[in-house]
Each structure stands twice: as C-alpha cells, then as structure tokens.
C-alpha cells in the first residue's frame, strides 16, 4: 500500500491516514526514499495527525526514515503528532532522536524556511 504523496515546490507532503502495520512502515520507508530521489525534493513533510498511537516500532521506523532522508540530502519533518500521542510516547520513553517535528504543515514549512540552525528537535 503506497502512501499518498503530493509535491509542492521543494517539499514532498506525505499523509499517513491510518495505523500502519510493521511491513507497511518498511514499505513506506522504501517508497519515501525512492520518491525523494526521483523528485529531487529538498524536504519530506510526514503528516502523522491521523495516527492512533506511535509505539516503539513506529518511533524506530520514523527515526530510520528521517535519517535515511537526511543522508539523501533532504530534510524530514514529522507533522501533527497530537498531544495525547505525544504524552504516551514520552511515558513510554520514546524520542525521535534529532528528527524535526512541527505542529502542522504551515509550521513545518516555516521551520524549514528558517533553516537548520533555527529548527528544534523532537528529542
């Protein structure tokens, strides 16, 4: 199942609409890396606002996706993690280890515009 991806300027905007099983997270990683290369996008905005939870496996996949995208010369921003999901992640002991996070898509684009020095991390 491919994730819907929209290209807007230098950004790839990816929406995760429902809970992903493990193999779908792995598929998402492969898809995003190949789309970053094919499109020449400078950033990937990963909208997670519809996810019910983020557990340890999902957090590990997000870190892996974010770092691999960075190694392809682009930036990854996770967008829309809700307050309840964020609280449960912190209680569980999860962090996103240097992957930038933003409240919504506007916030993410603003973050990217201000450049790497200004961005704050979700860890």
């Amino acid at each position: 199942m491919a994730l819907p991806v929209a290209k807007q300027g230098d950004h790839l905007i990816v929406s995760v609409h429902s809970a992903l099983v493990d193999e779908e997270w792995i598929g998402a990683q492969e898809q995003l890396l190949s789309e970053v290369s094919a499109s020449g996008a400078r950033s990937v905005l990963l909208d997670l606002g519809s996810l019910d939870i983020l557990d340890s496996f999902a957090a590990r996949m997000l870190r892996s996706i974010g770092k691999a995208i960075q190694l392809r010369g682009a930036q990854c921003v996770v967008v829309g993690i809700g307050p309840d999901v964020a609280y449960a992640m912190v209680q569980l002991g999860l962090n996103l280890d240097g992957i930038a996070a933003a409240l919504d898509l506007d916030d993410a684009i603003d973050l990217l515009r201000r450049g790497p020095q200004a961005r704050w991390h979700a860890d």
Partner: protein, 133 residues
C-alpha cells in the same frame, strides 16, 4: 457490549487489531482520549513482544469492577521462550530482540498496575490494569 475479548496474536496485523479492540472497550467503559491513547500504546507494546519473541500468543482485554473502582485489564500471554531475567527486562534500554528496550518499562509507566510472570521455557504473562476513578 462490555465483555471480555481475546485477540490471538501471531502477525504484526494482530497488533493493530488488539489495540483497536482495547481502545474500543476502554472507550465504552468511559476512558477519555488521553487514557485511550495510553491504553492502546501499552497494548501495542505487549502484543509486539509476543510477535517478536514468542511468535504466538494472545491478548485478553476485559472490564474490571471491584465494587468501588472500574477499569480495564489487559493480559498478554504467550508460550514462548520466556524471560530469563525479568528484573533486567524491566530496565530501560535493555533488549534482546533488537528493539529500543522501552516496551516493558514503558508499559509499567503507562498503566496503573503492571505485573509480569515469566521464566525461561515457560512463556510469559503480562497483566496490566488502568483504573477509571
């Protein structure tokens, strides 16, 4: 429909089924949004442990009412290899399965009650509860 439900856990798809069922029951019991996410996250972690370490088992989700308090109980049970050192498995960062090592200690923080019974060769049972009031 506040009844006990058992989800067989074999594949990663069953992890999602278990947490969706748990969240539904918790919601019917009257848990609010923050607790629903907490309960679903804890179920996801214990179900994942079954898939990762034991290959199969089950997650039983049931309403609790001891006369004074109501809540939800989650029992994750498998007949897998068991955990040699339970105290060590409850330490943050300890893993034998290539994960982050946050699952069990994290679930203990997420839930109100957390008990684990395991020994090498005997499988593992995790009992977790969250109380409403």
């Amino acid at each position: 429909m506040l009844t006990r439900t058992l989800v067989q856990v074999v594949t990663d798809r069953d992890i999602v089924t278990a947490r969706v069922r748990g969240r539904l029951l918790a919601s019917e019991l009257g848990f609010q949004m923050g607790d629903l996410v907490v309960i679903a996250t804890a179920i996801s972690e214990v179900a994942r442990n079954i898939v990762r370490y034991a290959t199969q088992g089950g997650v039983e989700i049931e309403p609790l009412d001891d006369g004074r308090h109501r809540g939800i109980q989650i029992v994750a049970r498998d007949q897998g290899p068991g955990i040699e050192d339970v105290a060590l498995a409850l330490e943050d960062g300890y893993t034998t399965g290539g994960g982050l090592g946050v699952g069990l200690p994290g679930c203990r923080r997420l839930m109100d009650d957390f008990e684990i019974t395991s020994s090498a060769g005997q499988g593992t049972t995790v009992v977790m509860r969250k109380w409403l009031d």
